[in-house]
Amino acid sequence: MPATFDFRHTSLDEALAFDAFYPPFLRGTAPFALWTLAGLVFLAGIVSHHPILTSASFLLAALATIATLAALFFDHALASSAFPKPLGDAIVEAKTSSQPVNLAQWCSFGVARSAHGVSGNAAAFIKNLSQTPHGRFVFARLGFSQQDIDFIVSQKDTGTDLVTRILAEAALHAARRNHMRIEVVDCLLSAALSYHPLKQLFFDRDIRKEDIETAIHWEDRAFHAAMRRKRFWRKDAILSITPMGREWAAGYSPTLDLYSRDITGRLAANALAQALVRHKELEGIEHELAEAAENNLVLIGESAIAKMAIVQEFAHRINTGKSLAALNWKRLVQLDLGAALAGLRSRGEIEERVRAVFAEATRAGNIILVVDNFHTFLGSRTTEEVVDISGIILPFIQGSRLQLLALTTPQGFRETIERRQDLLVHFKTVELQELSEAVLMQALAGLVPGYESRYKVFITIPTLRTCLDYADRYIQDIPFPEKGVQLLESAAIAASRAGAQIVLPEHVAQAVSEKSHIPAGAVAESEREKLLNLENLLHKRVVNQERAIEVVANAMRRARAGVATQKRPIGTFLFLGPTGVGKTETAKALAESYFGSDERMIRFDMSEYQGQDAVSHLLGSPKTQEDGTLTSAIRTNPFSLVLLDEFEKAYPKALDLFLQVFDEGRLTDGWGRVVSFRNAILIATSNAGAEFIRQRITKGGDTASLADDLIEYVLSQGIFRPELVNRFDAVVVYRPLLQEHVVQVAQKMLSRLSAALLKERGVKLEISEDGVRALAAKGYSPEFGGREMARVIQEQVENIVARKILEGELKRGSVFRLTARDLQTNSTL
């Protein structure tokens, strides 16, 4: 039998009646007001010796007592009555029983009040839910206004018995979330998934189930934090007050105190720390540090914030007696080894200082020493500047009295600590796992109140999700959660500067664009125009090659419209064709159109990577202490066009690297760091098959199948492997240029030169039509297409202009004219 929700004859029914008689406003104010009034009247009676006033004060006290006890009775008894059994058991019973099971008594008072008197009207029920404090919080954080809620209420859902269905589904959500009662937020989640108008609005706003769950989790935390603040008399609140005399059995540590900070008890309420803590790792730390023999630990993690979050939460737990008995009430002291060693020159001075610090930490008996970036003090690198303190601290670490919590990065651990077996045997390790999206959302949500009060803005969950999405996509060199946090703050600043009250996803996009100079977010009008006219923009620089331009432009539109997968680079192309036909020019034009400047193009001459060491050159190697040319270039400029010239000439294993780049959009460098190519466009060029193209064009055969035939030719000749060719978004075939095309090339180059001359020197360049043709004739060759054009213009035009400017013949405002005859004369000179 299905569950029913009949509030009649339950304790909630009585609570509703009581609530109507003694409403929340009175419950909140009447006790305090009556007690205050009674006190004042009593004082007045004493002062004036007027018995009526004194008597009235006792009457008021009687009323105040009743008001107080009634309010307490409502909050602690009527509105939160005990259940006969846990909610989960009741649900199981409802599913298996042949009799209907009434789950109404498991509803919270907020749900009961929202459902009261709605007579099965789901819209009214949802409106009531939205007006509870929990409902207001969730809707506001999801970015909904009162108008949105009114709109939902005005819509009709034709389903039957909707309120019961929403409640029944909410009961399941509540049981799943270990809620004791069916809360308002459970009903909202249920309504969002089953009530059509609400579901539709969430879909239209791209609000997902995870977002609603984040809002619920956020609300839960905020509500409980507020409750904890109010109930200062609770045991955990009392124990969190720092006591006196706790350290009287511990030793002094004057030298250590100079170069360290005591983090015990600090930042106890750090919301970010609480959100980022993974209990499994925290328990690991406590367990390892509490063991009698193994009391040193290395905490390995990429993110500095995540590591410190765990340390802070650990500090909070030991300071409130919630950790293990062996650790409770100890001091967690973060040593600044850099500061401790600053200014020390001789080995003897360093040894003396380090020994003093570690000896004090050991002798004190209540200190757990935290050393951040521990690997930097072990000096496995051969540079002389790096201090190696491992020899000095080893005796302390070997003993059982010092407790050391060393923080390091995976790279630092691999390269330094792991290689020191003598040291490593005295450490246990705890590795931080990658943070899930849900945890990251909660972490950002925890920071929101701080940013909201600092920048006077309101931040919604869709904005937080955009922050995470964009941080993941556009920021490569910083780990999570740091990059998400930084982006959130930048977006809040952007919104605050713009005078906006709500931080919108647009502000996040703006923050990304300001940092990376890359268009992010919804395609702006100007960019939309640019993308739709990309062919024309590319044709401004590239002559002929309509098909090639069309293929590239389509791929770019797919990427920006979000149709293409985001796990791969923006675009990967193989440009095949003879030399001098515009392959590089297309790449430059694309870099200019998409990334704003052709300086965003990173060029690799792959013929330089023919040797066996090609892979280590591209990826870098700890052996040679060199960064990879490819990986470091893309890490520094993730938003770039990577041009891989003469691709076919690279060492085969180097080409294999690109299989992963094209497929997954990432590569692991020689140091083990992952480099993302997801914001890059990769263009490989090759002259392979140029002769094949020339012959086909000369023969005048079927040009429609040229591309397919060329690919077949390239594969049959073993120039590229099929799995590599298949991974390109498009293989673009460039046709040889004819002389009339080269005339256009010459015109474009001359007009660029003319514009530059006018801007820089104020000299106007006028070249007659026959002059352009003459230059084109000199610059053209069937073999090299228009490649010689730049050299010819340099020799025949630029050199002469330069000479005339230096001779003073061409001044600002002068016009330099050039005809075919002039060119002929010049060449005979």
Binding site: S11, E14, F18, P51, I52, T54, S55, A56, F58, L59, A61, A62, L63, T65, I66, L69, L72, F73, H76, A77, L78, W233, R234, K235, I238, L239, I241, P243, M244, G245, R246, W248, A249, A250, G251, Y252, W329, R363, A364, G365
Partner: protein, 124 residues
């Protein structure tokens, strides 16, 4: 029905919560003065200031060191005893406050009537 429910709550869960409150008040005093921890470490050397000594050292050196260490322990015990004393006084005071709270709670339902009587007595 509601009245019965009220009394069941007041002298059931409500009274238990009031006892919890009273316990927390006493706990607060013991915690803030670290009474338990100071009792456990009552005779520890003050701030771990000790002179290391070994049996094979000269007898005079050994006894001097032992004497200094005894003094350190005595100073530690004296300071801790003072703190423990303050803590116990504080705990007794908080116990008194707790007793008042508990009395009020136990008398709670009767208080309006008592206040009404008081009002009448004052008038008469």
């Amino acid at each position: 029905m509601l009245i019965a429910q009220y009394f069941a709550w007041h002298y059931g869960r409500g009274l238990k919560a009031a006892f919890g409150l009273a316990e927390n008040a006493i706990e607060f005093a013991l915690h803030i003065w670290s009474v338990r921890e100071l009792l456990v470490s009552l005779f520890s050397p003050w701030k771990q200031i000790i002179v290391p000594h070994r049996r094979e050292e000269a007898l005079s050196t050994f006894f001097t060191a032992a004497w200094y260490n005894l003094i350190s322990r005595m100073i530690g015990a004296a300071v801790r005893l003072i703190a423990i004393g303050f803590g116990l006084v504080h705990a007794v005071f908080m116990g008194g406050v707790a007793a008042v709270i508990l009395s009020f709670w136990i008398l709670g339902p009767a208080l309006p009537i008592l206040f009404l009587f008081a009002a009448l007595i004052v008038l008469v």
